[in-house]
Structure formats: structure tokens, C-alpha cells
Amino acid sequence: MAEVSVEVSATDCTDLAKVLVRADPGGALAAALDVPFGRAVRDGNDALVVRTAPDAWLLLAAADLATPLVRRVEALGAGEFASVVDVTHGHALARLTGTTAAVVLAKLCAIDLADPATPDGNTFRSLVAGVAVTVVRDDARPGRLTAGSAGATPAGGRDARPGRLTVSPTASLASLDRSDALGSAGATPAGGRDAERERSYLLLCDRSYRQYLRDVLTDAGEEFGLAWT
């Protein structure tokens, strides 16, 4: 029998480091992080900086990087009232990837996932199967932030894009990938199903919902043979 093409897969990435930053949106730390609300940007140190609220950021990084990340960010905000808290253990994290990832998610979540509304690099917090979930569309390097691994960069993806800013690793967590330039505004069918493009979403929720999130994604993805990797 021919190979079964898996249209969508999911990975549990709960072990990744997560650091919450709370700071004045008008302050120095906010300026250094330089990620607008609703966007997620990769910094020079392989952390994904997700702006989750007007005064909050969530940094995702490889599993062992929480403590250095906290220190680094604390240094950025020295002198102002800011809180940097390691919340690695507070959240479950899953990555949903595939050509039908958006269709699967559209069974669970009311937000428009089509490109014009939720292009690559966008993030929102909304209800997914009744639970508040932070969703990050992160197509370009689906292999980058997975369970525990820091490196494994897949072929293609955003890295290959010309014009990428290079920032020295010691520099601030300034934006690396200004994803504004990304994401085509091309028409997708009304249901958001786009057979050509592979998409990838990070889904972050309170840790106690870890199994629940897994169960609902499995259920919603059954139609497309969703497999957990």
C-alpha cells in the first residue's frame, strides 16, 4: 500500500521554557522587546517573543533556557517596574502542523484563521474548545520549537528568506523576523482550508488542560488522520 499522507500532525511541546514578562508598554523593556500586541517574533537567541497582552509578553525557548532568559530580560528592564517570571510549568503547549491544521483548528476556535486575518507571525488568545488558549501562527520553522529541542531547523522556512536582520546573540531581544512582511493575502476558500500551504500553530493553555487539549485536537483531527509525534 502506498504511504498514507498525513495531512496534519501534532506535537506536545509542554517542556519548552516559558517566561512571562509584565511591564509598562511605554517603558524601556517594552521598547527592547519591540513586539506589537498580537504578534510573535523570534529574537536573536531562538526565543519566540509573543506579545500576549498590552502589558504582557510570553517568551518561549528551548527547555533549558528559562533561567538565562529570565536573567537576560530582567537586565533589559532594570530600573523600571517590571516582572519576569518563569512560568514554564504553568502551561501546556502543543504544536499543530499540516496542510489541514487550520481546518482542524476551525472546528474548535471561532477566530478567522485565513491569511488576511491571522497571517504567519500573528497571535491571539481566544477560546479553543471552551478553554482560553494562546494561539501563535508560526509556519516558518515548525521544527524549531518542539519538545525540548532548541536547534533542529527544518529545510526551507523563514530562515531562507533574504533580508533577514542579524542581531548578535547578546543584543536585546529585538525582533528578528518582522513577520509583517510575511503572509500572503491570497484568497483561501471560505472555510479556511488551503490545500497547498502547510501551516503551523502553537497552542498554549493552562497546564491542567494538557490532556484535554490533546484529546480535543485528536478528536477534531481524526478526519485528517491527525497523528501525535
Binding site: F37, G38, T52, A53, P54, A56, A110, F124, R125, S126, L127, A132
Partner: protein, 88 residues
């Protein structure tokens, strides 16, 4: 489902929000008479028209919002983050 405009997140399903109540000034707890205090606790304008309300974008940005909402038509004429003062 009704869409509510969050000043941060944009229009979202009402299911993501929590209605807190009409906004009312808290009397000085040291000086208030029982009548004044209980007016604050219990009496409501409950207008069939524009109401000044406090909402929480619970499953979104987590911010409290001051909203001027029409209780008959559902229109919203003003909304802002409750932490930022502003024309009420």
C-alpha cells in the same frame, strides 16, 4: 453571538467576556451612610438605553474594559481599557 469590540483584541464573541456590572462610584467607606452604601451595593440605573458598564475580556487580553453599551440595540459607542482614565 454578539461581537464586542475589545480595544486591544478587536471584535470578539461575547462568550470570551465577563460582564461585571454597571460602573458606579464607590462612596467613601468612612463617611457613607447605610443608605448611600447600600445604594451603591444594590440600586441600579438599569437603563433601557446607554449604560456604562464594566466588562472583563476573560478569554482574551484579560483586561477590564469600560464600555458604553446600548441595552436595547446592543450598539457600543465607546470602549476603553478601564485602567486608562477617559471621558466617561
Amino acid at each position: 453571538m454578539v461581537l464586542l469590540p475589545c480595544p486591544h483584541c478587536g471584535p470578539r464573541d461575547a462568550a470570551e467576556f465577563g460582564y461585571v456590572g454597571e460602573r458606579a462610584a464607590r462612596p467613601d467607606p468612612g463617611a457613607a451612610t447605610p443608605q448611600q452604601w447600600r445604594g451603591y451595593l444594590y440600586l441600579r440605573r438599569n437603563p433601557a438605553g446607554w449604560a456604562d458598564e464594566l466588562w472583563l475580556h476573560r478569554a482574551g487580553c484579560g483586561r477590564y474594559l469600560a464600555m458604553s453599551r446600548h441595552t436595547v440595540t446592543g450598539d457600543i459607542r465607546a470602549v476603553r481599557d478601564a485602567a486608562t482614565g477617559g471621558a466617561d
